[in-house]
Subunit: 341 residues, 2 copies
């Protein structure tokens, strides 16, 4: 072990606007030695999550990082050395490793891994992003036959699951994406009823054409001007599921206000509701079984978009904000040494 | 009848900012003659409703008025002449009379009056504003013991009822008003637990002091910067009842966006929900009986703020936007000729 080095992707400079690959750099340091009660883990798959962007330049973030810090991120990892009786080498755990090969973990900060599928499935459909799409759509959006559901960032990790969940629950589902080609993927591969290219014609005009009877449920991953264009097209008693506001994560001057609030909420009796997936974790097992059943039956499709190698993490992450990914974006850092997942 | 004149308060000019009494003028015209199937009614009590402000200068309003038009408003009125078998002289009806002594009504546009209390009670606690406070608080806000409820425009027609309803349902209730003296009225007469003077020290600081455990339910009558100050003080899973946005009804350049939306909704899992009272009218009778029981037992207090005489309608209405009123503001135009309510 001592001969091995720990590669780390660290913050090289703080971006003043959109993040660049050059804002990161790779360094090598010795592999750390676990102390009493600690685990040494090796990163297998890094999860790329847009909300982590706030760790780099949101001054109010409790976990704000600075130049030279290892970039934050969650991952599946394998226990290499355990000084804690509950864990053995080869155990696969979920934890915040950051962007590096090796990290020390406290046992309370790692989650064990109820094996249901592949590593990729556990970091996507059975993990935070898949369950966010599932619970947010089902429990907050409450789609039903006869309802029109709109999903933004519909080709993303959460969106492509959220849209398919709505479809399974009988709704008509329209997705907003960043290209014509991704739109075709939604309709031809994922079974969405229609797609809207936000880089195409004016969004409000497209919404009128593609949702002529209005929108009953809007699953909002992006906030900003897309949300503002959608609100006037909502039907009375419609619901906006506030899942995220990715349009504001990677800009120099985030727009922090939304036009039409509260006037349209009053006029149209709309409900806007934020949620976080952990609030539904008491139903996690049942949700995973439902999703596993749909997957096995081919009723929904999971898309994992994996880049190879830790050194590609910056490129993988920066690309999220341009909408490069199809489904859940991961970085493969290593394969398990003991039992492959 | 033919000797009598019909006084009308008409729009004299379109205000470019805050409404003034001088934007109205009184004229006299002959009392109109009902045609076949019409009713001639005499206005008894005019209801002063802030949202009517939009009729004067909101270009997008479907009922936009112009110079020379009779100002719009709802009222209780007495049938003077009926050419319709379902109505007889002396019947008391609720309808949109506008600000005038006499008006012609179509039978479909008047609501009959299930007598439960005085004319004033029917235009306030048993009418739109009281039921708005009741249903909005109970059905959308869902207060309960242990919850902190905040009400803006808490001394207004809707707010003073909404706050007292929350109190009856066991919550701790704090009201925002425009003066120290009105704050004392809330706590000493209406039984609110605390009051905040929005013209006093910085609102966010007052909210911290007076709601040290945060806010669970915010009943929002005003929107604007008060809403923006409240959102960061909301507790996780809190609810914002979007009843109105009176802060923007009488300004030259309404602020149409709310800071903190959707970011705080996501971070705090908040729900913001608009409603209109008509959606709950299937429960209207039960609501009136509950309110009547509380009133009779002295558990809640109704405040009606009545100005005398049609010619005072402009002053009564303009004063709403300065927060002059205590409770429901009405204008007494006439007494019933037949049976006093």
């Amino acid at each position: 072990m001592s001969a091995e080095r720990n590669r780390q992707v660290v913050i090289a400079k703080i971006p003043q606007g959109a993040l660049q690959v050059s804002d990161f750099e790779v360094r090598e340091v010795p592999v750390p030695e676990p102390g009493a009660g600690q685990l040494l883990v090796r990163t297998l798959r890094l999860s790329m999550d847009p909300a982590t962007r706030a760790r780099i330049s949101d001054a109010g973030h409790p976990g704000l990082l600075g130049v030279g810090d290892v970039m934050a991120g969650s991952a599946l990892a394998e226990v290499v050395t355990s000084l804690e009786p509950g864990f053995a080498p080869g155990d696969i755990v979920e934890c915040y490793t950051g962007w590096q090969d090796y990290s020390l973990q406290e046992p309370g900060a790692v989650a064990t891994f109820d094996k249901l599928g592949t590593l990729e499935e556990h970091l996507s459909i059975y993990g935070v992003s898949g369950l966010t799409g599932y619970f947010g759509m089902r429990e907050v959006g409450e789609p039903a036959p006869g309802k029109t559901v709109l999903v933004s960032a519909a080709g993303g990790a959460v969106g492509h699951i959220a849209g398919q969940v709505a479809k399974q629950l009988g709704a008509r589902v329209v997705g907003i994406v960043g290209s014509e080609e991704k739109g075709r993927w939604l309709t031809e591969t994922l079974g969405f009823d229609a797609a809207i290219n936000r880089r195409g014609e004016k969004l409000s005009a497209q919404l009128k054409t593609i949702c002529p009877d209005g929108i009953d449920i809007y699953f909002d991953n992006v906030g900003g001007e897309i949300l503002e264009a959608v609100l006037p097209r909502m039907n009375e008693h419609g619901r906006v599921v506030c899942c995220g506001y990715a349009s504001q994560y990677d800009v120099a001057a985030p727009v922090t206000a939304t036009r039409g609030v509260p006037a349209l909420l009053v006029g149209k009796r709309l409900r806007m509701e934020g949620f976080v997936v952990m609030d539904y974790y008491d139903m996690k097992q049942a949700a995973r079984e439902t999703l596993a059943g749909w997957l096995a039956a081919g009723q929904i499709k999971l898309s994992v978009d994996m880049l190879e190698g830790l050194e590609r993490a910056p490129e993988a992450f920066v690309g999220l904000f341009g909408g490069d990914n199809r489904g859940k974006r991961l970085v493969r850092v290593a394969e398990p040494a003991v039992n492959a997942g």
